[in-house]
């Protein structure tokens, strides 16, 4: 039987595409954008979160008249989404912006099962942003007032624009997939390093969940670096890749921000890992989720700070 197996596998291998085609593609990709084709282009929570923070800050600054009398409406819940090259939501964050400009964010692991069949949170946005906001409302029992989405690929440039983002790592890491290569302890990320830091999923003790924590660390550090001087440049970098719901009055929203933004972050506890229709997902746990969100937005609950994996 072994000979038969050998022949069968060789026959399968013979189906391969012409290597000249691949060679030509490699040359093309090398010339065009070496980074663009990397698969598993993960995205960051951060991009979306930053967008929601940066844009209003900027708009406020560029307005001639100070919004002295502009009423600051109450706290608002905003769903921040970081999208990959395929418009999948890879990073999903539910943020509550208080009237004093501080923010509390909760990362929602993208592989939580939602809806039917193989749907996960990550896939709903591409379909229709409202499907994602509805699923989040169901899961957390919290009304989503607005959403903003950003292509994560912009974030290398953003990190550079603010003079680097400081993060702290528990361990030395080197990962071939993302290209991440960092020392233990404090690292200042610029350019592509930011993307590598945010994309790494392989080789981390908790995989995607560690990545979520990295996104939070990055966001917190980034938010603290936003100043009025830097805002115009950041806006310019991000404005083309931001998408938000039509009914959102950003000017009014903006009036709550007076300077660098303080962020408290946490990750939604996940249910069990289960199989749905043949794929691995996290079972949603609405009761626990609701309690957690209530606690966190109410000022209690755990906060993740310090070094990350």
């Amino acid at each position: 039987m072994n000979d038969l197996i050998r022949q069968a596998i060789a026959a399968e291998a013979d189906e391969r595409v012409d290597s000249r085609t691949v060679l030509a593609n490699l040359h093309k990709a090398r010339k065009a954008k070496p980074f663009g084709m990397i698969i598993g282009v993960a995205t960051l929570t951060v991009a979306a979160a930053a967008a929601a923070v940066v844009i209003p800050t900027t708009i406020k600054k560029t307005e001639a008249a100070p919004p002295a009398n502009a009423p600051v409406s109450g706290a608002q819940n905003v769903l921040l989404i970081g999208t990959d090259d395929d418009r999948r939501a890879d990073a999903i964050v539910l943020a509550r912006f208080e009237t004093d400009g501080s923010a509390s964010i909760i990362s929602l692991p993208r592989d939580i099962h939602a809806g039917t069949g193989q749907d996960r949170l990550s896939g709903l946005f591409k379909d229709d942003p409202r499907k994602l906001t509805a699923a989040v409302e169901d899961l957390t029992g919290t009304k989503v007032d607005h959403y903003a989405a950003v292509a994560m690929s912009e974030f290398g440039r953003v990190a550079t624009a603010v003079g680097g983002i400081e993060v702290c790592l528990n361990n030395y890491v080197m990962d071939e997939y993302s290209g991440a290569h960092f020392m233990a302890g404090k690292n200042t990320l610029v350019g592509e390093q930011a993307l590598q830091f945010l994309r790494q999923r392989h080789g981390l003790p908790e995989g995607d969940l560690d990545r979520v924590k990295r996104q939070q660390a990055f966001l917190t550090s980034f938010a603290a670096k936003i100043t009025k001087d830097k805002a115009p440049e950041l806006l310019q970098l991000l404005e083309r890749s931001i998408e938000y719901d039509e009914g959102w009055d950003l000017l009014q929203f903006a009036s709550r921000f007076q300077g660098p933004v303080k962020v408290r972050s946490a990750t939604l506890p996940i249910g069990e890992e289960v199989q749905r229709d043949g794929i691995q997902v996290y079972a949603p746990d609405p009761d626990q989720s609701k309690r957690f969100v209530e606690d966190q937005f109410g000022g209690g609950g755990p906060t993740e700070t310090g070094c990350v994996n």
Binding site: A29, I39, G179
Partner: protein
Amino acid sequence: MGFDQFVADRLDRLLGYATAITCDKHLAQDIVQNVLLRAQGKWERIGAMDAPYLYVKRMVTNDYLSWRHRKAAREIAVERGELVRHAPAMADPADAHAEREAMRARIAVLPRKQRAALVLRFYEDCSDAEIAQVLGCTESTVRSQLSRALQTLRTHELARSATLGVHS
């Protein structure tokens, strides 16, 4: 060895390997292209290794076994599964070609990791130790993956022979 030289020497073989483990030439092409682009970015390190080809093969294999391609892999398996079902009725046992095609279809529906181990053994002629390195597991896991794969193929082979009323 420089990156360009590596690609010139190994690209065709790598495509053959990737096609054999994925059972889909387009998926194989995507994976190989992406892996080579990543490998190029750190060729200084990979090129200096004892066995760059083994390392790149590991990247290809990991990529295929990753969560990302789970859906594609399942669809391919379903498609091939249909072929397996139809194979006994159509195949003429005396026809070596039909025999081989039937085996090909059965290999295509094995679990991904088992198939990767099988291809590494029978197409790449790797030792247990080398397979363990590529799959990132222990040698004893390699042996159990291989023996399970062979067991499955053997059972199917027997069942098929019985259906056709022949002995193989």
